[in-house]
């Protein structure tokens, strides 16, 4: 067990005892590597979208698995914090399954909780953009006039990792995935925005 994992475990126990959601979230924030200000929020038709022009997750081991013809799921978590970075006021969780056509040499992306939403015959960067375009947070629930932070976390997942059941998508599993440290074999990325206010974003 690494020092970070030990720290995480100790803090997690403390969080359980106190029932403190804030502590758990701050723990998670502390345990992650953050590249700051790479996330650009956008306001589109009542939803908050994000762009991350410098974030590329179709790389490394995940890309190798894709080129080998495997379907690789990616779990996304978009968090909005208000007042301080620890005060999470909204979040969106999605799983996207990416695959690579060995004949056409193009990527395909499917949003797992809605198979009808898919992107076909995409380049790597287009596939990445497609995922970001399909994770949104409604602006209606966000506090106006307050400073906000957006944060995006991405983890590659095992295709065998269960996510949905016969009765619905398992939200608890997605939360649990982002509540635990990533495994060594998992690729993970994290990026956050500079502070902003909703009024700063010009509706598109």
């Amino acid at each position: 067990m690494t020092v970070r994992a030990s720290l995480h475990s100790a803090l997690l126990n403390r969080a359980r005892k106190q029932g403190s959601l804030a502590l758990l979230l701050s723990l998670q924030l502390a345990a992650m590597t953050v590249s700051s200000t790479g996330l650009l929020p956008r306001h589109v038709a009542g939803d908050l979208h994000v762009n991350a022009p410098n974030l590329h997750f179709l790389t490394g081991k995940s890309l190798s698995r894709l080129h080998d013809g495997a379907a690789v799921p990616f779990d996304f978590q978009l968090i909005i914090a208000s007042g301080s970075k620890d005060n999470v006021v909204a979040r969106s969780l999605e799983r996207f399954t990416v695959s690579y056509d060995v004949w056409e040499e193009k990527f395909s992306v499917v949003r797992v909780r809605d198979f009808r939403r898919s992107g076909m015959r995409l380049s790597a960067s287009s596939a990445e953009s497609w995922c970001l375009d399909n994770i949104v947070i409604p602006t209606a629930g966000l506090p106006a006039g307050q400073q906000l932070w957006a944060r995006l976390e991405i983890r590659s997942a095992e295709s065998k990792e269960p996510l949905a059941t016969t009765s619905g998508i398992n939200l608890a599993t997605l939360i649990e995935i982002f509540s635990r440290p990533s495994r060594p074999q998992q690729d993970r990325w994290s990026v956050e925005s500079a502070p902003f206010q909703l009024s700063d974003l010009k509706p598109q």
Partner: protein, 442 residues
């Protein structure tokens, strides 16, 4: 809509309020109401529209897998890609081979809309395995068995066998086989090997008596040697999977001869062309074809004392459905020149012309062989009929027949190779003397 919580124990203390908070905040995750929703990552693979053309191991090695695993592979060939099915197969192979990891990759097939599946077995820097590849008992010939140690380090495979065999040759021999194999060369199309064998040999009284009559052994290249050593470098080429060609050299030294020479050599060029394919046409039936031709040519160019050529062809076809099976085996062979005893053909053991005693048929074997066998199976019951002859050139072949009944199956740890318990009867006039045959993997 249903949000399902797993059994996390204390974690619920944190996550239940968290879920409630997110719901109050109007978070955007909306579980879908489609009751048919599954985690269909396997079906979400864009390659699932392609047909699997073939499944092979990346390193082209012949891994020992259970019959049911081979059946599973056969079923997947010709079907559309299913990541779930391939993951299941990888897990199964991983368990059977006790590998660190087994993964697969898809590559373009020879035909459009078809893909090849390549299975990669990761031994995690090396593996070690001990097994008993075969063990049998014949009430006439006694026990035969092999113990095997294998170690794989990367693309290097080492095999050490200790064996005692009173079944397959005219001589009864005991000794060791040590083999090094370098696999996966030229993108898995070539493997190189070197084998060393050392045996001590014994003979039945009838063989010794027959050897004493030199007039009967005009085609025999050496007498009763007490031991033999073999050094055999070889290379195997995948011509067009599953067709392979093995070429090599065999430097065989026969020692402790009764003659003044004390030792003689039988150095030969060896060539084996083999085709082995297993396939499934419907969900329940499997077919397997194993055909091959081998040539051993001992020439003076290799400094041999015994010059001869040995030709051998075999064909084995098996059809198996859920309840029934049919297996047909045919062998033909011919030797020209003076070959030593270990090269000569014999029938009448635990696998060929079952029920007969090979020493009764010909205590020195023959230089001509013709053989056929049919086995019918219903569930675990087996009935078989064997016919064949060994003879020497210039003599008339005399066909011998036998029949038998038994049970055969693969169970549990024996699943990788079926065991057989059978009573075999030589069909001859006058009397019937059954022979008990029992064993596994032979």
């Amino acid at each position: 809509m249903e949000l399902r919580l797993l059994s996390w124990g204390p974690m619920k203390l944190v996550l239940i309020p968290a879920l409630a908070a997110f719901t109050l905040l109007g978070q955007s995750v909306t579980p879908v109401s489609d009751s048919g929703l599954q985690d269909q990552s396997s079906d979400l693979n864009v390659n699932s529209r392609y047909i699997i053309e073939s499944i092979h191991f990346v390193d082209q090695r012949q891994y020992k897998l259970s019959t049911s695993a081979l059946d599973e592979i056969s079923r997947l060939v010709g079907a559309k890609v299913s990541s779930e099915a391939l993951d299941r197969l990888a897990l199964r192979i991983r368990a059977e081979l006790r590998a660190h990891d087994v993964t697969f990759k898809l590559t373009r097939g020879a035909q459009p809309e078809a893909v090849r599946v390549l299975i990669q077995v990761d031994r995690a820097g090396g593996s070690f395995d001990a097994s008993v590849p075969n063990l049998s008992y014949n009430s006439t010939l006694g026990f035969t068995g092999t113990g095997q140690l294998t170690s794989t380090i990367g693309a290097n495979a080492f095999t050490l066998r200790a064996l005692h065999d009173g079944d397959t040759l005219i001589e009864r021999f005991s000794g060791i086989q040590a083999k090094y194999e370098r696999v996966g060369l030229a993108h898995g199309r070539i493997s190189l090997g070197f084998e060393f064998d050392g045996y001590q040999d014994q003979y039945s009284n009838s063989t010794i008596a027959a050897l004493a009559n030199s007039s009967q052994t005009s085609s025999l290249g050496a007498g009763a040697y007490g031991s033999r050593l073999n050094y055999e470098p070889s290379a195997t080429f995948v011509l067009a999977a599953p067709l392979t060609l093995t070429v090599g050299l065999s430097f065989e030294q026969l020692n402790n001869l009764p003659s003044a020479a004390r030792s003689e050599s039988a150095n030969a060029v060896i060539n084996t062309l083999r085709y082995h394919r297993r396939w499934t046409e419907s969900g329940d039936s499997t077919q397997e074809l194993d055909a091959g031709y081998s040539l051993r040519a001992a020439t003076t160019a290799l400094g041999t004392d015994l010059a001869y050529t040995r030709h051998m062809a075999h064909l084995k076809y098996n059809y198996s459905s859920r309840t029934q099976s049919v297996e047909v085996t045919m062998l033909a062979g011919a030797i020209y020149g003076q070959a030593p005893l270990f090269e000569r053909f014999a029938l009448g053991d635990s696998t060929l012309l079952r029920g007969w005693n090979k020493y009764d048929l010909d205590p020195l074997g023959g230089n001509r062989l013709a053989y056929g066998s049919v086995t019918y199976g219903y569930h675990i019951m087996r009935v078989f009929y064997d016919t064949g002859s060994v003879w020497d050139q210039g003599k008339s072949p005399e066909a011998k027949d036998s029949a038998g009944i038994g049970v055969s199956s693969g169970l549990g740890v024996l699943e990788k190779g079926a065991f057989l318990v059978a009573l075999a009867f030589p069909l001859r006039q006058g009397h019937v003397t059954p022979v008990l045959i029992a064993g596994m993997n032979f």
